[in-house]
Symmetry: C2
Subunit: 717 residues, 2 copies
Amino acid sequence: MRSQDDNVESLKPLFCPRTIAIVGASREETGIGHRILESLQNGGFTGSVIPVNLHATEIAGLRTFPSLRDIPCPVDLAVIAVPAGLVLSIIDDCAAKQVPTAILITAGFAETGGIGTSLEEQLRERVHRYGIRLIGPNCFGLMNLDPAIRLNATYTPIIPPPGRVAIASESGGLGLAVVMAAQRLNLGISSFVSVGNHVDVTVNDLLEYWEQDTNTDVILLYLETIVDSHRFRCIGERVGRNKPIVVLKAGRTPAGQSAAGSHTAALATNDAAVDALFTQCGVIRAKTLEEFLSLATGLSNQPRLLGRRIGILTNSGGPGVLCADSCAAEGLTVPELSQTRQSAFASFLPPMAALRNPVDVIGFATEEQHARAVETMLRSDELDALIIVHVSVRVNDNDPVATGIIRGIRAARQTGNNKPIYLCWMAEGDLERTFVVDGETIPTYRNPEVPARIISRALAYDAWRKQPVGKTAHYADVDLVAAKAICAKALADRGSGWLTTHETHELLAAMKIPLISSGIATTAEEAVQLAQKIGYPVAMKLASHQIVHKTEMGGVRLNLVDDHAVREAFNMIRTRLAQAGKLEVMEGVLVQPMLSGGVEVMVGMTSDSLFGPVIAFGLGGIHVEVLGDVQFRVAPLTDRDAAEMIPGIKSYRLLTGYRGQPAVDLKAIEDVLLRISHLAESISEISEIDLNPVFALPLGQGCQIVDARIRVVKRSL
Amino acid sequence: MRSQDDNVESLKPLFCPRTIAIVGASREETGIGHRILESLQNGGFTGSVIPVNLHATEIAGLRTFPSLRDIPCPVDLAVIAVPAGLVLSIIDDCAAKQVPTAILITAGFAETGGIGTSLEEQLRERVHRYGIRLIGPNCFGLMNLDPAIRLNATYTPIIPPPGRVAIASESGGLGLAVVMAAQRLNLGISSFVSVGNHVDVTVNDLLEYWEQDTNTDVILLYLETIVDSHRFRCIGERVGRNKPIVVLKAGRTPAGQSAAGSHTAALATNDAAVDALFTQCGVIRAKTLEEFLSLATGLSNQPRLLGRRIGILTNSGGPGVLCADSCAAEGLTVPELSQTRQSAFASFLPPMAALRNPVDVIGFATEEQHARAVETMLRSDELDALIIVHVSVRVNDNDPVATGIIRGIRAARQTGNNKPIYLCWMAEGDLERTFVVDGETIPTYRNPEVPARIISRALAYDAWRKQPVGKTAHYADVDLVAAKAICAKALADRGSGWLTTHETHELLAAMKIPLISSGIATTAEEAVQLAQKIGYPVAMKLASHQIVHKTEMGGVRLNLVDDHAVREAFNMIRTRLAQAGKLEVMEGVLVQPMLSGGVEVMVGMTSDSLFGPVIAFGLGGIHVEVLGDVQFRVAPLTDRDAAEMIPGIKSYRLLTGYRGQPAVDLKAIEDVLLRISHLAESISEISEIDLNPVFALPLGQGCQIVDARIRVVKRSL
């Protein structure tokens, strides 16, 4: 693994090459190599370009060599567009010529399965052996719009305006669609990378590069999988502190995962874990392609918000109402303006204008009225941001309105005002208009509901950024050696499966996780003795690592008040099991004190094939199963993760003192979450943990785990 | 109230006038009257237009009269654009001239408050007295695009293509924005009405008109309020059976309601009741303006779906994955194609193509390949609908792809294939392209997630339509006279407020609503006698119509097992109340049997200022309060409404036999819902009912109401 600095250094020739060789540049204009050559030339690349073609001496006016090895000068970057079968020998040529970086456009690797997969393996081995930094294969290329470089090594001729947004995409087509939309939206791009099958350079490498790239403020990622989720999390959390990362993650559903599989062999994964990971590292997740683009324009161009009070300026009631609705739905406020402020508007707006907020200047307001209204809204200390909604009735009306808006913004900005401004420009026939005021682009949308959404996401990101960095806890009081030994012995004795009740108790004790005091009885008389020791009333439960749904088997008896009830309960549990022919799986009967008070919660862990241990928290019972009211986080949990999980459930109010009940001991639950995370991280053989129910007791009294199940699996080395 | 036929007949001159007078036609080109005149002329109106202007003899080449009264021929429609102060006298002129219909553009009525409100009242009285059908005031006019009429009485010069979608809008600006977008989207419009302040003609009148209008297949409404919700429901349910009604309802939130108030004085209302009403009458509710337009194009142009199996044809992996994700998220399937089908594709697609579904023809597929792929997808019996997703890399590539798609559709359609087709055309520089195949418009969107959403809404609408019409129940066993007498006496004795425990029990008994057997004790000894009669264990509850939260007052004691416990409970309830100084509100203590088994649910009713009684159903306890898991319906409930409410809650699984529990008696709960609806409809003085908890018992055992509260209010006449 390269250090961060080495990684960034090694990627520089990809973004800032002086000399590029196009291997597979053809004379035919429809050839991919030729198209890329054309893109480089038309894009005004500031370095030199050398075509490589076995059969030509000149292509597109450039001197052409038969092989990389024949080029007399150093080459920084090879762009390769040859048939898949020739790729490995070209990589050998790169090594011989000491070309440090390459972009491999060619498809026909793992995305096609079969022979392509083994070809990709050979490719990976070879570029790693040579130390070549390679983008692709199966990619659409790279752009660096820095005016000092002007590198368009893709096959689109459309070049977006240079700017401060970097984009990486796992789908070339989607990436190009975004780049091309950027031109229409006047969204300034710093660089764009189509990562293809990411045999060498991954999104993680690029995040580190863009972290240090002074041209980049915002990072957009289209992902179908997460490569090395631990590294993604570390880098993402660090980068996200300074530069927002917006991700459109496809393959959310099994159908999407299957579709992605047919595309780039992405691994199927659990979308709840993806959401958890993104939450933990502050990634802003776009739900749709449109939201992805809207977030890009919204986040890259405007100052940060300082509050939630939104002013809406419109020339038509209906769209103003839709905008106000969307603000309220996103947790923003649309405060009624003070009488003073309303009077200020009344002094220059038409008599029919609405003044309370939304301010409706009505359809026929002049340029001057628009200018004054915009400036007055921006300079009001009653508002934190401005949304302007314009509906055009006639195309001719748009120019004066647009001029008025720009004049108003300029006037406010010249007094040092830096409130965020968003535009909804519903002007048919003039929809592509962009608004730039003295170099500042005003994010412009078509639909009145969009700005509120963007503002609310920006505020949530800012709130994440302001929190202190989470810390993983270190526990001096746990006995990991003992815990590991229990798992190892269970695996050695019985192979993969659930731990016995006894093993489970021992393991949790080693982790200092507060399992309820109890004992296992193998006869009715033992049960009575245990119950007397514990004190009545007691609960009794079948102890068996092979029977998961004990209630359905009649294996749970609650509120037993005396010896007689305990004896009867033991015998009934045993009889039911015998009737079912399952007596041999009975390890005994667990006798526990009946808890009263507190709230039943659950803590769980499952092992995700891509992300490793994922920790779950929810209320007990139906909340998890029927209502799906669960919070997930990827291990290792930080103190901040644990503290955020609990209030994250919808039924959180039940834990904070609902209807006169005492508030529960949240710190104690957090501690269980952190210890379970620590356990799962430390012992990879543990594949599943289910603590359910956990009694969350009143503040100061901690919590008590009433039932626990732990599963171990043999891991292949 | 007019009959439906009279209403429709009376509106005809608005849509199909032979002669229109423009009252307030000015010579100035910026005047509203002048603009409308221009629109009528440029739109090619097939009737005649007569300007009315006190000071001119000719405007825009047309003979002009000083007053309506001076026009020598009959006038079918007066379009009025004069200052607000002159409007009433113009209405008098209309009456004198026997003009049957008018469109009043002028603003300055109730939307401005104050004097405008009283002016609107006078206007309403006058048009009703004269029997003139009037659209407005404060509106943008009307369009009828029937080629035999070609009426554009609005002030936009942009005319959308004629077609089969009718639009009514409470906001003129939003309505015009939709009409203008329709041109870009090639969305065919039959007619458009800006209803303004709907002093006379309402959306309900228009629904009846469009129900009979042979030019209209789909109805779009932008609403800020619901005028006469009972009539809306009746008409909506009837019309919706044949023609889908799509509504964008603004004012969802208090901020939006406030914004709408400043605009057209819409009444604030409860958005949950709006959702309930729309669910009941099959209205398709759009969440955003974009969805409104997408639904319009999607529903007006394509055949009905017969199933959920979606084929996706794409030329780029990423957008195909996003499309597949959205299908799965919307409950559709993207089935893997059979080997036979895949082989068929393999025979003509490039070797890199993905064949399973999504079918990815890859970026450089030819026109011919697109044509064959589209035809093959459409003709596959493994799929019910087709979504085509195209990303262009170069603008030049678009023409052959578009031609190929159209060829493929035509070839399939010519064999009688009528599966729905949706397009996602992500072609920067060519985004406004529309697809029409032999007169059939293919709905075309920009974002890959949109088609799945539209398909899923269309399927839900179809499912609603297929259900039998709901019936309201008639109960021969209820004693409404007694019920009314109880409410009247309580109001006479104490005024508005909660009924006493005794009154509540009597009232529910009169309605044959199964309140649990119980009695009220005023002394500890009475309580003991009642408990002995009922049988132990019992529950005891403070009886007081003035204390709502009894648990917090220590007023609920459960599971009392003997005389001693009952005596103690009575005394403790009394003591707590005495300590709080509230002994005088104690009506006694309710003694009830303890129920076990069954699931606690709640049935409620609140009276909405706009909609009247709204019935609520949810699980008891935290489900309603903390999780908001409640279903609402507007009264009167039909059997279908009641049957749909119960499965509508998220926690429905708890009622159908969860974890070995018996399924509950759903019919008994439905019966309670229907009787409560009947009660609320019959006695308008009842403003609130809360049956909570109701014990839903196992199938065949009915349900038992454990606690009930009913509030009555004095209604002003």
